[in-house]
C-alpha cells in the first residue's frame, strides 16, 4: 500500500502550464513553463509532452521534449529546449509569456545515478545535450566527476557549450564544420576523452547514429553507457506503441520496447542499434517467433541457438556486451 502510494506520488501529471519565457538560444528556443507539480517530480532524463496548436488544432499528436532544467521560482518551473522543425514547433516558438499550455510530465525512465562517486562522461549531440546539465548537477551532488563531450553540425547548434565549459571538469566540443572546438564528430574524440578523464560511466543523448557509435566504442573499454534515445512519439505515455525499438531484456529476450515508458534512457548495450527500424526475427512476437520453452529445446538440438545466447546475456548487469547484437546473426545456424 505504502509502495503504491509512493509510486503514485512520483508519477506524471497533466497540468495547465503558464509560459514564463520563450527565448532564442543560438539555433534553438528555450521555453520556461510554470508547472510546480512537474518540477517537483522531475528527475534528469525525463521529458514532457505538450499539446500544440490550441483547442481547435489540426495537430493531433503531442510533442515530446526532454526537460532541460527545473527551478523553484514561481512555485516551480520547467524549462525545455527545441528546434523549429515543423508546424508544431513553429507554433510553440510563437508562444508568449502568460500563454497557457496543456503539459504532461515528467515522463519516462530517468538517468540512473551511480551509487558511489564515479568519473562520468556526459555526451550530447545537438540539443540532445539539454537534459545533461541537470544530470551533471545531481552527479556532482554525489561527488562524481563530470566531463562533457558535446558536438553538432556547427557552433550555434552545440547547446550549452558555455555551461559545459564553466561547470564541467573538462569540456570537449566538436563541430562538423569546425566552427567551434575541433572539427569532426563527438565519436572522433571519444577515445581520447575516455583516456584523459578515466571515465567510469557514460551518459549520452542525441541522434541514434551517435548513440550507436558511442555504445560500440565504450564497449571496447567495458564502460557502461546510459543512452537517452530520440524516437518519434505520438502520445509519450505508453499507449500508442509508436516509439518502439528492439531492446534486449534482462531475461535475454528482445522486445519491441516503448522508448517513452521503458526509456527514453536505456543501457546502451541493451539496445540493438543496428536493428532499429526493423523487427528482428528473434524479437518477442516476431513472425515465426516461438515461445521460449520450444526455442530452448530446439537450441539444444542445434547445438546452441538464441536461447543459449540469451543465457549468456542474463543478469550479469555489470558487464557490457556490445558484441551481443553483432553475434545475433549466428542464431539458429
Amino acid at each position: 500500500m505504502m509502495h503504491s502510494e509512493m509510486e503514485a506520488q512520483a508519477g506524471p501529471v497533466q497540468v495547465r502550464g503558464t509560459v514564463l519565457t520563450v527565448r532564442r538560444v543560438d539555433a534553438y528556443y528555450a521555453m520556461t513553463l510554470v508547472a510546480p507539480a512537474i518540477a517537483a517530480r522531475f528527475r534528469p532524463g525525463q521529458f514532457i509532452t505538450l499539446a500544440v496548436g490550441g483547442p481547435d488544432t489540426s495537430m493531433m499528436l503531442s510533442r515530446a521534449f526532454s526537460i532541460h532544467d527545473v527551478r523553484p521560482d514561481h512555485g516551480g518551473t520547467v524549462e525545455f529546449v527545441f528546434a523549429v522543425h515543423g508546424r508544431g514547433t513553429r507554433w510553440l516558438a510563437e508562444r508568449r509569456a502568460r500563454d497557457v499550455l496543456d503539459v504532461t510530465g515528467p515522463l519516462g525512465r530517468p538517468f540512473p545515478l551511480p551509487r558511489d562517486p564515479a568519473s562520468c562522461l556526459l555526451i550530447g549531440g545537438g540539443y540532445g545535450s539539454a537534459p545533461l546539465f541537470a544530470l551533471a548537477d545531481r552527479l556532482r551532488e554525489r561527488s562524481c566527476q563530470v566531463d562533457f563531450l558535446l558536438g553538432a553540425g556547427s557552433g550555434d547548434r552545440v547547446f550549452g557549450a558555455l555551461t559545459a565549459r564553466r561547470t564541467g571538469r573538462t569540456a570537449t566540443i566538436t563541430t562538423e564544420d569546425g566552427s567551434l572546438g575541433s572539427r569532426g564528430l563527438v565519436t572522433d574524440m571519444l577515445d581520447q576523452v575516455i583516456h584523459e578523464a578515466r571515465t567510469d560511466v557514460i551518459y549520452a543523448c542525441g541522434p541514434m547514429p551517435m548513440l550507436r557509435q558511442v555504445t560500440a566504442l565504450a564497449g571496447r573499454y567495458d564502460i557502461p553507457v546510459q543512452a537517452a534515445v530520440e524516437e518519434a512519439m505520438a502520445c509519450g505515455i505508453g499507449v500508442c506503441m509508436t516509439c518502439v525499438l528492439p531492446v534486449i531484456g534482462s531475461d535475454g529476450i528482445t522486445r519491441m520496447s516503448r522508448s517513452c515508458v521503458d526509456g527514453p534512457v536505456f543501457r546502451g548495450e541493451q539496445v540493438r542499434w543496428d536493428d532499429v527500424g526493423t523487427i528482428p526475427f528473434d524479437a518477442f512476437g516476431a513472425p515465426g517467433w516461438e515461445p521460449r520453452s520450444r526455442r530452448a529445446s530446439q537450441s539444444v538440438v542445434n547445438g546452441g541457438g538464441s536461447a543459449a545466447a540469451a543465457a549468456g546475456t542474463g543478469p550479469g548487469r555489470g558487464r557490457t556486451a556490445p558484441q551481443r547484437s553483432d553475434g545475433r546473426p549466428g542464431h539458429g545456424g
Binding site: 501529471v13 493531433m60 505520438a234 505515455i237 499507449v239 518502439v244 519491441m256 517467433w289
Partner: protein, 325 residues
C-alpha cells in the same frame, strides 16, 4: 438535476456512454495516471491476439491534417499475458473491461472468445474484424459480409451467453449496411463503428512512403464526418441495434454528434494522444451540453437526428423547412 447518462451495451448497463477506443488506451493502466478509469463507461482494450506479436517496423506513425496514420501491426503480449496481468488490474480498479480481440482465422477469434469467457469480469467483447484472413489470401474480414458473419458467429457461439459481442466495422467498404446486417444476423449484440480508413503519406523530401508499413489507418477529427455517415446509415437500417460510435471525437459536442446519429456509446481514441484525460473531460462536456439543453436522459437523444423534431424546442433550421416543403 443531473442528466441520466446510463446506457446499454447489449443487456449490460453502463453508468455513462464514454469509452476508450481500442488501441488508444492500452489496457487502461497508463491512462489511470491521469484519470479514474472506473469513472468512464468502459475501457475498450487494445486488440488482444492469441500469441504475442511484435507489430510492424518503425516509423509507425505520421501526423496528417486533423488526424494521423498509424501502422502499429497489433503489437501485444497475447491473451495469456492479458488474462494474467491486464484484466485483473482493470477489475481491481473498478473499471469495466470491453476486450477487443483480433485474429487471422475464424478459429483464432473463437478461441479468444472462449478464453475470455473462462475469465471472470469481461463486460463485453469487441471483435476487430479489420484483420487479414490468412485462409483467404489475406482479404480483410470486415470487407466481406460472409467472412464478417463467420467470425461473429464463431465468437458468439463460443462467448459466454451473458457477454455481449460487438463487431467493429471498417468504413473501407462499398456498403457498410450490408456488413452490419451480416454481423447482426450472425448474432452480434451490437456494432462498433468506425475503424480507421486506409491511408498513405509520401515524404516529399525522401520521395518515399513515410510509414515503414507503407499504408496506415487514418484516425482523428478528419474522419468524423465519415463516422457520422456510417452510424447514420446503419442506424437507419437497423434502428434497434446498439452502436458504439467512434471517429475523431475530441469534445463533448463531437460525442453528441455521434449520439444524434445513432450511437448509444462513444469511444474516444486519437484525442487521447494529446490529452491523456480526454475521456473524463469529454464526459463532463457531454453532460454539460445535455444539461444546457434541458435533456433529462441520454437515451432521449440517441438517434435523434433521424427524427423530424429537434432538441429542446429549438426552431428547426432553414434546412429542415426546405425539406418539409
Amino acid at each position: 438535476m443531473g442528466v441520466d447518462l446510463r446506457t446499454r451495451l447489449g443487456h449490460v448497463e453502463l453508468p455513462n456512454p464514454i469509452l476508450t477506443a481500442s488501441g488508444c488506451a492500452g489496457a487502461g493502466r497508463e491512462l489511470a495516471q491521469f484519470m479514474d478509469v472506473s469513472k468512464i463507461g468502459a475501457i475498450v482494450t487494445k486488440s488482444v491476439m492469441l500469441a504475442p506479436r511484435s507489430g510492424r517496423p518503425t516509423p509507425r506513425m505520421a501526423e496528417t491534417p486533423s488526424g494521423m496514420l498509424n501502422s502499429i501491426g497489433l503489437q501485444g503480449p497475447g491473451i495469456d499475458a492479458f488474462l494474467q496481468r491486464d484484466l485483473p488490474w482493470l477489475l481491481s480498479r473498478g473499471a469495466r473491461a470491453v476486450v477487443s480481440i483480433a485474429g487471422g482465422t475464424v478459429a483464432e477469434y473463437a478461441d479468444l472468445a472462449g478464453r475470455l469467457s473462462e475469465a471472470a469480469g469481461v463486460t463485453a467483447i469487441e471483435v476487430n474484424i479489420s484483420c487479414p484472413n490468412v485462409e483467404h489470401r489475406g482479404q480483410v474480414f470486415a470487407c466481406d459480409p460472409a467472412a464478417s458473419g463467420a467470425v461473429v458467429e464463431a465468437v458468439r457461439s463460443r462467448a459466454r451467453y451473458d457477454i455481449p459481442v460487438f463487431a467493429k466495422l471498417s468504413p473501407d467498404v462499398t456498403d457498410i449496411v450490408g456488413i452490419a446486417k451480416a454481423c447482426v444476423s450472425a448474432g452480434a449484440d451490437g456494432l462498433s463503428m468506425i475503424n480507421t480508413l486506409l491511408g498513405m503519406v509520401i515524404d516529399t523530401a525522401t520521395t518515399r512512403p513515410q510509414l515503414a508499413g507503407l499504408t496506415g489507418g487514418l484516425s482523428g477529427p478528419a474522419i468524423r464526418p465519415v463516422a457520422v455517415r456510417c452510424i447514420w446509415q446503419v442506424r437507419e437500417a437497423l434502428p434497434n441495434v446498439p452502436i458504439i460510435g467512434m471517429g475523431g471525437v475530441r469534445t463533448g459536442l463531437d460525442a453528441l454528434e455521434l449520439i444524434l446519429a445513432g450511437a448509444s456509446m462513444v469511444s474516444v481514441g486519437t484525442t487521447i494522444f494529446h490529452d491523456p484525460s480526454a475521456c473524463t473531460r469529454i464526459l463532463r462536456e457531454l453532460e454539460e451540453e445535455l444539461t444546457g439543453r434541458g435533456t433529462e436522459r441520454l437515451a432521449d437523444v440517441v438517434g435523434l437526428a433521424h427524427q423530424a423534431r429537434t432538441i429542446a424546442g429549438r426552431p428547426p433550421g432553414p434546412g429542415a423547412a426546405a425539406r418539409r416543403s
